[in-house]
């Protein structure tokens, strides 16, 4: 559907404002499950717990770790539900 068709259907008369509203609606759709997904990878570093989340992240779908002993496949890992007792906290 074009922006013009959306404007005609909704009775909006400002193109710039409509584009902004479309961006807002797109944001709300993507933050609730969304229609598109992205993947980013980063190095796993020995002794490092903290990693950056992508700045453009809206909703996290999954986190995986590369299993180098099983054909270099990424396998989904589970989320910790409770605060862990970490014994090597630096």
């Amino acid at each position: 559907m074009t922006i013009l068709e959306m404007m005609e259907r909704s009775g909006a008369d400002s193109t710039n404002l409509t584009v902004s509203w479309i961006r807002d609606a797109f944001n709300m759709i993507e933050s609730n499950g969304g229609d598109t997904s992205k993947v980013k990878k980063q190095d796993l570093v020995s002794g490092t717990r903290d990693y950056n989340l992508p700045a453009d992240l809206m909703a996290l779908s999954s986190v995986s770790i590369l299993d180098t002993k099983d054909g270099n496949k990424y396998k989904r890992i589970s989320r910790l539900v409770f605060d862990p007792l970490v014994t090597e906290d630096a």
């Binding site: 559907m1 074009t2 922006i3 013009l4 959306m6 404007m7 909704s10 009775g11 193109t15 584009v19 509203w21 479309i22 807002d24 609606a25 797109f26 709300m28 759709i29 993507e30 609730n32 499950g33 969304g34 229609d35 598109t36 997904s37 992205k38 993947v39 980013k40 990878k41 980063q42 190095d43 796993l44 020995s46 002794g47 490092t48 717990r49 903290d50 990693y51 950056n52 989340l53 992508p54 453009d56 992240l57 809206m58 996290l60 999954s62 986190v63 995986s64 770790i65 590369l66 180098t68 002993k69 396998k75 989904r76 890992i77 589970s78 910790l80 862990p84 007792l85 970490v86 630096a90």
Partner: protein, 161 residues
């Protein structure tokens, strides 16, 4: 060399940070008096380095505006086996003829959202609430269309019809 990663690794978020922890399985230990101590499994920092070892999948604000209609096959709907999806070029400065990169139902949801915003500008908050409900209803309809799950319930013979 990482192995059994799906059993040994865990994650959680803290603000904008992703924490990755590894479960160190130690089992039970024999104490000096010969008895077994409780399970000593513990979470530790990752103890290995793997290039591109952490993969994050997420939703993002990806190409909301494109040059072609995303809901029409590029080759036309003429053949069952030879077909391709349209080549969508992102548009950074959208005009009125630019397409919104959403399916038809989500586009209708966006129309409801715009109606809600137009109503708010006019001061009609009741209409705004109505159109926002329509927006979320259409978003959830679009989501359930992908899930392919149907539920049916038997009707009780004593149900009031």
């Amino acid at each position: 060399m990482s192995q059994d990663v799906n059993r040994d690794y865990f994650w959680r978020t803290r603000g904008n940070t992703l924490e990755v922890l590894k479960l160190k399985r130690s089992g039970s230990a024999v104490k000096n008096d010969g008895s077994l101590s409780p399970n000593r499994d513990e979470l530790i920092y990752p103890d290995e380095s793997v290039d591109d070892g952490v993969r994050v999948e997420y939703t993002a604000f990806v190409n909301p505006f494109v040059s072609a209609d995303p809901n029409v096959l590029a080759t036309g709907d003429t053949n069952e086996t030879t077909w391709t999806n349209p080549d969508l070029t992102p548009v950074t400065s959208p005009t009125e003829t630019t397409h919104v990169n959403l399916n038809r139902l989500l586009s209708m949801a966006v129309v409801s959202y715009i109606k809600a915003m137009v109503s708010e500008l006019k001061g009609d908050l009741k209409a705004k609430e109505y159109y926002l409900r329509e927006f979320w209803k259409r978003v959830s309809d679009a989501e359930s269309n992908k899930r392919m799950v149907s539920m049916s319930f038997p009707t009780s013979p004593f149900a009031v019809r």
